[in-house]
Symmetry: C2
Subunit: 334 residues, 2 copies
DNA sequence: CTGAAAGCGCTTACAG
DNA sequence: CTGAAAGCGCTTACAG
């Protein structure tokens, strides 16, 4: 097996110096057309590919953008990852993922792993790293935060207006004549969960409806939480005609709980989620939910990093979430 | 901001040569306890982290294992990716993903991107790269293939027995008295789809049931295909009491199609999937399906790579798929 | 057990 | 526009 060719081999084959080879490789300064052609030909003939480790060492750049994700397993993050990968493809940059699994310490470990590998930019997907740490990071390298708004980092945060979106979702239920609307919250240690709860509360009060704490149950953003939440509601014995879940996964769990208890959706209970996961168009019935467009957010985030890497401003604008009307809600007959 | 420290800084601080620093870093050869301690102290004090690019350049290893996945978006691959990441964590190796998106040419691009980044090992998730290419790759670096069995690479392939598993799934339906059993296949360009079809056929014939081609419709492993397949069946006008879908995504689509046409699961039609995606425990009703344990497969694959990297045999054994009985099937009343 | 030296494969001033 | 030289930050024979 032949050794993989290096710049020296190309230089020799093309009868030029390694400097010149490097110049045509990087385009850093002009090269005489003939020599350039000779170099290109040699590169092609020997099937040369520059050694990224060497390049990385001298340039101090790795052509890699780190992505601190929470879990590759979650569909939510899968979509984001996909968008990032797509937007990066063809740019010469490659994503490097590390998962925080919703634990601050793991998030820190993930970030240092990424930093150690000398990523040129960093995309942080939500999580709970203190804002200070995030601002410090932003001072060191191009940074984009998805799913959180960090004070002092305008244009570098990509997120949806949780308050307004959830307001809209609940408003939809109210417009359908529902008055006893349950809210299953996310993990209230997370700002998005708090904001969504706030949207629920405000929509209620704007409609002149009293806030009833028995209608609110804390979940944790996963299916199991939805299942549990339903049991809690049933035990409480409150009556309700609609449920607004803080995310789709909770909605899936709630859906199953309702099924187990013989409650039909939407005939007996209307159900609204948040996120619009890929699966939500295929649940029975298809779920009405707030579309977060994670795939698009991933693309936007990656493009912003690319801009920063090119010395341009990130220029990120918050995405508008939209309510996707499907078949899990219906008008309540008085 | 201070420059990040290098081995020279450590050497200077610890009053030793860079060689010695390197020795304690790599453990390649013994170092006098006192010097060792001094080096360790300096490393700790200056918060030194070796530059991976430099190390990679001299060693020719990147401490990275490439993963050619198909799509980060698919839950199926998300589980696999998660398993790989978990098993690699703490080993010093980090996964680097590149997606093939089910196109041979993109798969090739993904693999060369990974090779260019000098991955030390490679995990290939299914796809359609010719076996020859895979064998060539295996000759160059530690390789593990998930979801396919490649002739000549024993112990390096991790897959489930599609034939036996699907036989078992269909057998289950037959045991429930079903006689008119539909099979919605995957994309028959893929070996697993063919094997699953074969399992279906064999289970039928072993039970003395005639193969009826009107009961078989070709899908493509995604929800939309399941939805379409149901329409096809209805147009054909064949009667059936059970459906075996070649994967869960097809089953989700079929489930929605049935719902739209007012057919209940399992009262009117029994439904069985394949894969056991995370969501399948939360569909309405929860789906009976063949468990592929992708997360475990990912872990196993990564551990095998680690073994090969350590000079040991990969020693991979096929995983047994098991039929998970949930609530989407029921015994047919005669 | 240890240090000086060479080298991994590139790129980038520097001097023409 | 071009080449010789230095250097990125490590590790690994080599010689003690």
């Amino acid at each position: 097996m032949r050794k993989t060719p290096t710049v020296s081999d190309i230089a020799q084959a093309a009868q030029v110096s390694t400097s010149t080879v490097s110049r045509v490789l990087t385009g850093s300064s002009p090269v005489h057309p003939e020599k350039r052609a000779a170099v290109l030909a040699a590169i092609d003939r020997l099937n040369f590919r520059p050694n990224l480790a060497a390049r990385s060492l001298v340039r101090g750049r790795s052509m890699t953008v780190g992505v601190m994700t929470q879990s590759l397993l979650s569909q939510f993050y899968g979509e984001l990852a996909m968008g990032i990968e797509e937007a990066l493809s063809g740019s010469g940059y490659h994503p490097l993922f590390a998962s925080g699994n919703w634990h601050v310490d793991e998030e820190r470990t993930a970030v240092s792993t990424l930093l150690e590998r000398k990523v040129d930019g960093l995309i942080v997907l939500a999580g709970q790293l203190p804002e200070d740490e995030l601002r410090d990071l932003a001072a060191k390298l191009p940074l984009v935060v998805v799913g959180r708004r960090i004070v002092g980092l305008p244009g570098q945060c990509m997120h949806v207006d949780d308050f307004a979106s959830s307001y809209q979702a609940v408003r939809h239920l109210i417009d359908l004549n529902h008055r006893q609307i349950v809210h299953v919250t996310g993990d209230l240690a997370h700002a998005d969960a708090v904001e969504r709860l706030r949207g629920y509360t405000k929509a209620l009060s704007d409609a002149g409806l009293a806030y009833d704490e028995r209608l609110v149950v804390e979940g944790n953003f996963i299916e199991q939480g939805g299942l549990l939440a339903l049991e809690t509601l049933l035990v409480r014995g409150v009556s309700f005609t609609a449920i607004f879940a803080a995310n789709d996964q909770l909605a899936y769990g709630l859906r199953l709980g309702l099924y187990r208890h013989g409650l039909r959706v939407p005939e007996d209970v209307s159900l609204v989620g948040f996120d619009d996961l890929l699966n939500s168009a295929y649940t029975t019935p298809p779920l009405t939910t707030v579309r977060q467009a994670m795939h698009t957010q991933g693309q936007q985030a990656a493009r912003a990093i690319l801009r920063m890497l090119a010395g341009e401003p990130p220029d990120l604008k918050p995405l508008k979430a939209e309510l996707v009307l499907r078949e899990s809600t219906r008008v309540l007959r008085q």
